[in-house]
Symmetry: C2
Subunit: 405 residues, 2 copies
């Protein structure tokens, strides 16, 4: 029985480098940058106004006051996309819209609500302006040549906006791994069936389907296979056509005989079986000809926890992601926590904020049979290997299920 | 100029009730439950073992110790899906696998590692067992008839697992609103073009595309329309075929003449224009014949903030979601915050955890021209209307961009 860190090192060490492909910018959100992204020009590209108002020479408004207003001639207009192309002369102002290009000769903008528009041709100011007021400078946000997105970053909608602004109508991203999901077990029937005597419905496959997609990979359900050596071997061979094969069930002490042997006979090199964790200790991992094979415990809670802790980082590495793990933070536990036999434990928890402080409680029974604990949880509470008790009020390490950091 | 709360009330008041459709369980993650979901049977459905081991009558192991071991006859086996169908007799034990049905007559399980397997037919115990040890009871997790998912809940992968377990191969979900995204502005060119004099690339549409999808709706880009009344009117009519039309740009003081008039002439009843917020004050909202029309400021930061604060809750309500808003929590600001003119402000912030306490700083310049602020931010800092300064070290209200609660 190895520990969680060792298991993770073995898994990550077996991950092949990511493939790359080019996608349209419209499909970029949720993908992973496969190269550094550099701005092709300054953003903003030219001096422009951050307000609707008048472009002026600040020196000409020196000393302006309600008692001594300054009147300038309105010599033209500059709106977004329709710049004033001449040069602003002495004694002149240019009517300017938000985003409009600052005309040559101007060095400040006065917002329209601080002016007195005498006529279409004249505008009066009763306060001075400072050089640069309401003027956005070229490259102020992103200078040309600046790396705006690093290889390995997850592309969010905000990244898509930046990609558009910096001239990337197409983007190089990593190829999404294809994941096959295979449920094993004589006890399983599909969700549309009524289970007979001693049978239950296959639920883990359906949770995995969504978890795999959320992790940025493609998923396909391969169905349910009975505990017959020949059927399992056949299905495993089908599963080895995928980049990752996720099997659920068939790894507990009794069942392992079937699945372990079937995996070996299908050419899978089993790298480990059983990890010192709770829940999910019967986790199995093997490799065959470029396919990563995970044998996840069939119990839905164990399936989900081992997926989050071991499969998701592997998928992240297959995608070339920089961040493979959620940020771990501390929260104060409301209640004492007790762990049997000192295994590294992942308890389902509910974290909340109180006056700026994070506080956490468990979802209740930590039996891996309690599926509903995953609906109520918003975090996993991580209890290190060797710890058997944590007193109430102490800080514990947690991982949000939906990492906000 | 109305305030943010009033604007939101007007928007939410205009949302039509959600439509419903039935989808395959495979496509349920990310959708919204359109009805309460009830378990069709107990979960677990029968007494079963949470360990590999032996099913016993606990009374028969009373007083067992290393000096006085008790030996029972192994009368059969119960594995998941293959129950032992007879009744366990006196002096007998049944070999049982995790998930295996507890045979009639048994009332406890002893894990295999705590037994001494003498032969295939005999097993010895050197410690007593308690009634119910390692036995999961029917309905322990979910009793039959129990509501497992409420109408209006966002379906996560964990919900999909529960739906499978409780017999829902198909699910009633709300129909995803169709959202058209239209950029307006003479200054805009597509991301694949090199902008000419005074022009910039359309980036807001691409950010909105991903934000709309993340919010659970379908999005279509309707392109860029120039500031010509006729073209705008034509495109608006095209946009009114959608459930929601998101326009960007054309709502600032100068440009509003075009867009406002075009909207009115296309039959849009404009409910408000301009809200007392920063950034994004030129926000416009109207309704036409079942279509919600948002005029979002064209600046990418303002577009994103007004989307998150005003459009996303509307999409959530169109989906019939129970939770329309991210959870607001408190964090301590590292720095003093200053807000011009007391508008309700949404500052881009970076929140982190330190010893269980949430601390936040801004992303730096809060100019709405700084697009990159959205890449670095993980939260919005909310400054209430009327507040002009917050001192360093005080608690402020924040919303995570990726709500973990």
């Amino acid at each position: 029985m190895i520990n969680a860190d060792r298991a993770l090192r073995i898994i990550l060490g077996a991950v092949p480098p990511p493939g790359r492909e080019t996608v349209d910018l419209r499909d970029a959100s949720g993908r992973t940058a496969a190269e550094h992204i550099v701005a092709d020009r300054d953003i903003p590209p030219f001096r422009n106004s951050s307000m609707d108002g008048y472009a002026v020479r600040h020196a000409e408004l020196k000393g302006a006051s309600p008692g001594r207003p300054v009147t300038l001639t309105v010599a033209g207009e500059s709106s977004a996309g329709n710049p004033f192309t001449g040069r602003m002369g002495k004694g002149e102002a240019i009517r300017i819209m938000t985003g409009g290009k600052l005309p040559s000769g101007a060095d400040a903008v006065v917002p329209v609500e601080k002016t007195n528009e005498k006529s279409p041709r004249a505008v009066t100011f009763d306060a001075p302006a400072r050089k640069g007021d309401f003027v956005r400078l070229p490259g102020e946000d992103i200078p040309r040549g600046h790396r705006v997105i690093a290889k390995g970053e997850l592309l969010t909608p905000y990244h898509a906006g930046i990609l558009a602004a910096t001239g990337h109508a197409k983007v190089r991203v990593s190829v999404r791994p294809r994941v096959g999901i295979l449920a094993t077990g004589d006890e399983l029937v599909g969700p549309g069936r009524t289970p007979g005597e001693g049978k239950i419905r296959n639920s883990s496959s359906y949770a995995l389907l969504g978890l795999v997609k959320e992790a940025g990979a493609r998923a396909r359900l391969l169905g349910i296979v009975r505990d017959r050596k020949k059927s399992i071997r056949k299905k495993i061979r089908e599963g080895l056509a995928f980049d990752v094969l996720l099997m659920t069930g068939g790894v507990s002490v009794g069942a392992h005989d079937y699945v372990g042997e079937a995996l070996r006979r299908a050419g899978v090199d089993i790298r480990f079986w059983r990890v010192n964790i709770r829940p999910g200790s019967p986790l199995l991992f093997g490799v065959a000809d470029g396919t990563l094979v995970f044998g996840l415990p069939g119990n839905p809670v164990s399936t989900a926890v081992t997926f989050l802790q071991f499969v998701r980082p592997a998928l992240g590495k297959m995608l070339g992601r920089n961040d493979l793990f959620p940020v771990r933070v501390r929260a104060f536990t409301d209640e004492p926590l007790r762990v049997k036999d000192g295994k590294k434990s992942y308890m389902r928890g509910i974290v909340r904020e109180e006056n700026g402080v994070l506080r956490v409680k468990t979802t209740g029974s930590q039996s891996s049979g309690v599926m509903t604990s995953l609906l109520r949880a918003n975090c996993l509470i991580l209890i290190p290997e060797g710890t058997v008790a944590v007193s109430g009020g102490s800080p514990v390490e947690i991982e949000f299920l939906n990492d906000p950091f």
